[in-house]
Symmetry: C2
């Protein structure tokens, strides 16, 4: 396992983290895959915590994903157990048994039902873990659970769930519900195998607001479209993509019973902000990423078509290698858009980068000067707009460039 | 433009090339993009030559592609003009005018109709060419046309259509039609932006058999599925993908009027062989390729599903980087298959590499020993089989690994 330098796109300063009332955390080092670092996170929730989740659409979902899907209907959570380094995916019946065993170990230690214990795993696919590999560490973790609200355990939690990530991803905000302040803190991990489809690698949202499970599920489902489903690093969807939200209800605020409740407006906005920022952090830590790229597609037949065009551009290795080299090769952007299968007008499309128009009506602008575009592309934050010239559909997605770093990381991942 | 080393997957010995009766060739150096090398090919056909073609499904097809589509219905060809280095794509109305002008120049020199002059371009997208850029070189090329059947002009033709290719791709075979020997010689170019959809970059088939245009079109359409549509280098479909077939009829053999004519059986088989071999050569020259990978998918719901699963595996950057590193990371193969959207049984799938079973029934084989698999993966020619465990559908595709070479070539393409 190579150690990678911190991504140049990582936030420059430590992010402020607000602890969430009703959540206690503990991290541990299992040594199962990594040496000398925490790779095991236990989060314990106040009684009555509600939960919502969205998961990978991969047809080979991992054992912990299948476990979460099974228990999600009950809407209650007392704990979340996450391990990094081994995805417990494609591990067959022994993998399923390991998941059940892990949930039971947590339930026994907390005197609750296994159906309130959520599991998530990330790491290598297809490597069986030894029996009790995770359950073994549960009693120790329970003893270490944080008792006072403090940001330190949250930072450690962000680190414990990393695999090839080069920095922890924690985003924290306050929101108001009916005059009361609540906290929303999210954790995410992910760096490669990022092309979420209804969910992403691992991301967890925690709030001390009192949001009933069905309302939380609605917020999560509608929030994921413009956040984790709008990013891609390498077009590979994982077997373990999991996004869970937990609401402890530790803050006593006016009762919420519907996602359209006006009192929930600020919370919904901030919840979405945290989702978007977490998703962007995943891209900023994309394997080998040197540039953060925002792609806007306009003028498509509808928003879905715009999203598909944007994703075709974002997933094009030729676009990504050109941008890595600060090369304003807009022909590759056009080619990628044109193979999306979505309608476009090849005599009316437009391309701009860094806000500078490059081409329209099927070709280069007269007197086009590449110098300012080249200057923009030399930066770390790239914006590009593609207008399909056929309608009013629009979409925004985020991706990163494709560099030697990606190859290095992924050619050496198992070694 | 960097100069790249010959692909390690290139054929070790020069391929034997049989000239095709009724085809005369000339190559030239225009200096439009490359210095000191031929980048312009003119092929002139005997009167009565029939033609068939399939083209990119990109919605932004290049001017020469649109030109060919327009004239193809007439089924007759007297010439083919190919230039390398500039795709004449996304060049708007001036690009279309340039195409018409080029066809007219060839028609004038040969005293034929422009609607019998086929055009193909490959190279950078979106860079306008100066007026007369290609027409200017037509009279000189006509003077240089080869008169005697010889293999040398065919080798030169293979070189003149290259862009980032590191070796020319010429495949030549004999076939029998009703006791008479005919020749089929194919040329292809392509190295990046390879994920053909109904056609590939540029490939040309020439035969001296007398095959009516509709029959030739049937052969080409059915042949492309298992050849150029079964390869991928980087999942990017080009704006210029063109596959044309020309039959000069210079050999007097029994008349053919249907693609199902029994007399055509040998020809059809050899025609398909040439298509497959050309397609494989394109993969063997995939940008940065170090390994040639054959992917077989079995046990899918149907053949189309199998093809989609195979392409999902072949296009996965995580699979391609793992294989570049000779890493038997079958979990990535499973993850790629599982995100194809095609049905699979995650408790019954199988994976093998180099003919060695690795996993079945949702997990690793008992007593699995990675050593022989690792030895296979260290070679240049990799085979892998994924069985989806749900049906009898099967498909085969070819791809290459993803290496630093790909990044180097594509981050520097325009410089």
């Amino acid at each position: 396992m190579p150690t990678h330098l911190r991504s140049p796109l990582a936030p420059k300063t430590g992010l402020k983290v607000y602890p969430v009332h009703g959540v206690r955390l503990a991290t541990q080092a299992t040594g199962l895959r990594y040496k000398g670092r925490d790779d095991f996170l236990l989060a314990v929730f106040a009684e009555g915590t509600s939960v919502a989740g969205v998961f990978t659409l991969s047809l080979a979902s991992a054992a912990p994903v299948r476990w979460c899907r099974k228990i999600l209907g009950q809407g209650r959570a007392r704990a979340l157990l996450v391990n990094a380094g081994n995805a417990n995916a494609a591990t067959g019946k022994p993998g399923e048994a390991l998941a059940v065993q892990s949930a039971r170990a947590v339930a026994a230690a907390l005197k609750t039902s296994p159906s309130q214990v959520y599991l998530a795993s990330t790491g290598i696919i297809g490597q069986p873990l030894p029996k009790n590999a995770l359950a073994h560490f549960v009693p120790g973790a329970v003893k270490k659970l944080s008792n006072k609200p403090s940001s330190a355990p949250w930072q450690k939690a962000g680190c414990a769930i990393m695999t090839t990530d080069t920095f922890p991803k924690v985003v924290s905000r306050h929101a108001k519900i009916g005059g009361k302040t609540v906290t929303i803190t999210g954790l995410a991990k992910g760096s490669g195998m990022i092309a979420p489809n209804m969910a992403t690698l691992l991301a967890f949202m925690f709030t001390d607001a009192a949001i009933p499970a069905p309302v939380l599920q609605t917020l999560l489902k509608s929030g994921v479209a413009g956040s984790f489903n709008a990013i891609t690093v390498d077009s590979d969807t994982s077997t373990n993509d999991t996004l869970l939200a937990f609401a402890t209800g530790a803050v006593a605020h006016a009762k919420i019973s519907s996602a359209t409740d006006a009192k929930l407006r600020d919370f919904t906005r901030v919840f979405q902000e945290v989702l978007v920022e977490l998703a962007q952090l995943v891209v900023r830590d994309g394997e080998g990423a040197q540039k953060f790229i925002t792609i806007d597609v306009t003028g498509a037949l509808n928003d879905k078509a715009a999203h598909n065009i944007a994703m075709a551009i974002a997933n094009s290795p030729l676009v990504k290698t050109a941008l890595a080299a600060s090369d304003a090769n807009w022909g590759r952007i056009l080619a990628a858009a044109a193979r999306s299968g979505e309608k476009m007008n090849q005599d009316r499309f437009k391309v701009s980068m860094g806000g500078i128009p490059i081409c329209h009506d099927g070709g280069l602008l007269k007197n086009y000067n590449e110098a300012p575009v080249a200057r923009h592309l030399k930066g770390r934050e790239i914006t590009l707009v593609f207008d399909a010239g056929v309608g009013k559909g629009k979409a925004r997605v985020w991706t990163c460039d494709l560099t030697h770093g990606y190859i290095e990381i992924n050619a050496g991942y198992r070694s």
